[in-house]
Symmetry: C2
Subunit: 353 residues, 2 copies
């Protein structure tokens, strides 16, 4: 029997609760799909700092590199906000992405028909939305040098090299080939030098994908178009911070940030995680929505383990739970037949496998 | 009789059409309010480049500094997109802001009750929205050094000095004092050094305004909250590029970017302009919505000329035109009784004065 080793990083806040439900579903789908999974629990974020003094212990990096894929919950919380920057949970996460080399963050925004009414946007605007934000994840202003601050000044550098742009552009075009074959590249080329290089380089890469239609849009306009008419987008290709902003905005099309998964890929080992944060305010109450994490586990099955059928089963089970009216608290007011807890939702989805 | 000198910069695309309507309304309100207006037409943008070879002729700067206020349309268009950066219309605009020293860009997003249904968001989400984005306009990554590019690399610097943050924060708190007394400062302090200085400095300035409630939000979350629950915001204080993105997004709450004005202030002479662009695709057709520009003229009356009553009259006339069902094409499908052209809309509003 095939066996895969999954690095589990539960993290802080609601992280442990939601990852546990994803494991429940993974075990269910493995047992009826002819493969087995073993898990290696690793520490990152505030919990890692509390135990080891470091938000990203070396063991977590090596353990992840020794796995077939990483399933990650969420990190962070006010408790650690006043630590020096390099000790903060977020620093651990950024270093983790960089160490693994996962430069491509894929963030689908898909609206489940059953929940078209859950968005703050009108149902006719969001129904049928199916877009993918391809965000560069280990460059740009998140990592650019020089950076720093003193008493009277703070500075960060938004920098991209041509190579960095080329490789993320290839990811976007390749994904577009499996979808509607349209890439919209987002920049601020009317103001930023780095965006001019971005735009020219994306144009060059596009030549290798003659079937894909490429367009460009300024980031301010994109923030507007995403809510004016989101169905115009197929693949949105962006740098690190623009992608951070736009993908969070896009998540609202689906009605709850508790629904959307993400994959960070481009290196040997990929990281699969919900796009939402650690939500310390509701941690430990058993009310968090585990669907984003379960959907991330499905992306992991599909992209990291190449277990397409198992991934299809998970996706179908999520859809079934939603269409039968099961809802966690965040979506309770949208056609809920039954409001359930985090672990009930996990069990329902696992049972439908 | 009091007399004011207005620098008129019509610009490119729909700029001339919409500024002409604002002038029509300004003349109407002046003649019944006991002051007179004279206009000094100045060149900026693509049209300035075509005529003088420079998107910002020196005359435009000196003429503006010799006026009581600047009323500006819009600049830019594909025609000039392939020029070297310093010749492009946008460069002229950025230099203009910098030369005048207008560091505070005020962008209200108000939803007219009559048009609560025009937004792509649900009416219950947007009805009653009344927020103000206070965007720093002449610093940050738009102007930071070092910046540049070569064949293989592009870079820009997001930099703020303490003084720059202090003065824009004061603007935000002062405005909040005339409103609901709440400031939400937007940054990315969990990642950016410059945002940490921003956050600390805003905290310090806040101490001088004990009546104002200050909160902080990460920019990605703000992009989400703006559409999840926009009524939570009163004043949003942000840097240059975050403000660019968020204010365009916020404009969609109102249903059309053709409705929203802006004021750029902080120096001797202020600049008043619609937040939308030059829309070359519809230029010259007489279908552009002049309301954003007319509302900008109203802000000019209020803030630059201190003619409150005249400003109130203009605002009331805009509201009346909308509530009587007059709509330009962009809003034709929202309870329009009569669809009218750019100049008809201008005349209707002027008549209601
Ligand atoms: C927690 C934070 C550092 C992170 C980011 O900005 O990348 C988060 O917002 C995300 O998008 O994964
Ligand atoms: C045209 C462009 C340079 C400008 C900006 O980014 O500031 C515009 O988007 C705006 O917001 O006024």
């Amino acid at each position: 029997m095939k066996s895969y080793k999954i690095a589990l990083i539960k993290g802080d806040g609601i992280g442990p609760e939601i990852v546990d439900e994803a494991v429940k579903v993974l075990d269910a789908v493995a047992s009826c799909s002819g493969f087995s999974l073993t898990y290696d629990e690793l520490l990152m974020g505030g919990v890692a700092y509390d135990i080891t003094g470091d938000p990203l212990p070396q063991e977590t990096i090596s353990g992840s590199l020794n796995s077939d894929a990483v399933l990650f919950g969420a990190i962070g919380g006010e408790k650690w906000d006043s630590l020096p920057r390099e000790k903060r949970p977020e620093s651990g996460l950024l270093r983790f992405r960089k160490e693994l080399g996962v430069y491509a963050n894929l963030r689908p925004a898909v609206v489940y028909d059953e929940l078209a009414n859950a968005s703050s946007l009108k149902p006719e605007i969001v129904k049928g939305v199916d877009l993918m934000v391809v965000r560069e994840l280990i460059g740009g202003i998140y990592f650019g040098e020089p950076k720093g601050r003193d008493e009277n000044k703070g500075w960060n550098t938004m920098v991209y090299t041509k190579d960095e742009i080329v490789r993320i552009a290839h990811q976007a075009f390749k994904i577009a080939m499996t979808r509607q074959k349209r890439v919209c590249s987002i920049d601020k080329a009317n103001v930023l030098d780095v965006s001019q290089l971005w735009r020219e380089t994306v144009e060059e890469v596009a030549k290798e994908y003659p079937e894909v239609e490429l367009s460009h849009m300024y980031v301010d306009n994109a923030a507007m178009q995403l809510i004016r008419d989101p169905k115009q987008f197929d693949v949105m290709l962006t740098g690190n911070i623009f992608g951070d902003i736009l993908s969070d905005e896009a998540s609202m099309l689906s009605g709850s940030i508790g629904l959307l998964p993400s994959a960070s890929v481009g290196a040997k080992i990929g990281v699969y995680e919900p796009i939402h944060g650690s939500a310390p305010d509701i941690a430990g109450q058993g009310i968090a929505n585990p669907i984003a994490t379960i959907a991330s586990a499905s992306m992991m099955l599909r992209y990291a383990l190449n277990e397409q059928e198992a991934a299809d089963k998970v996706d179908a089970a999520i859809k079934r739970a939603l269409s039968e009216g099961y809802r966690t608290g965040d979506l309770a007011q949208f056609d809920a037949k039954e409001v359930c807890s985090t672990s009930e939702m996990g069990s329902i989805i696992a049972n439908y496998i």
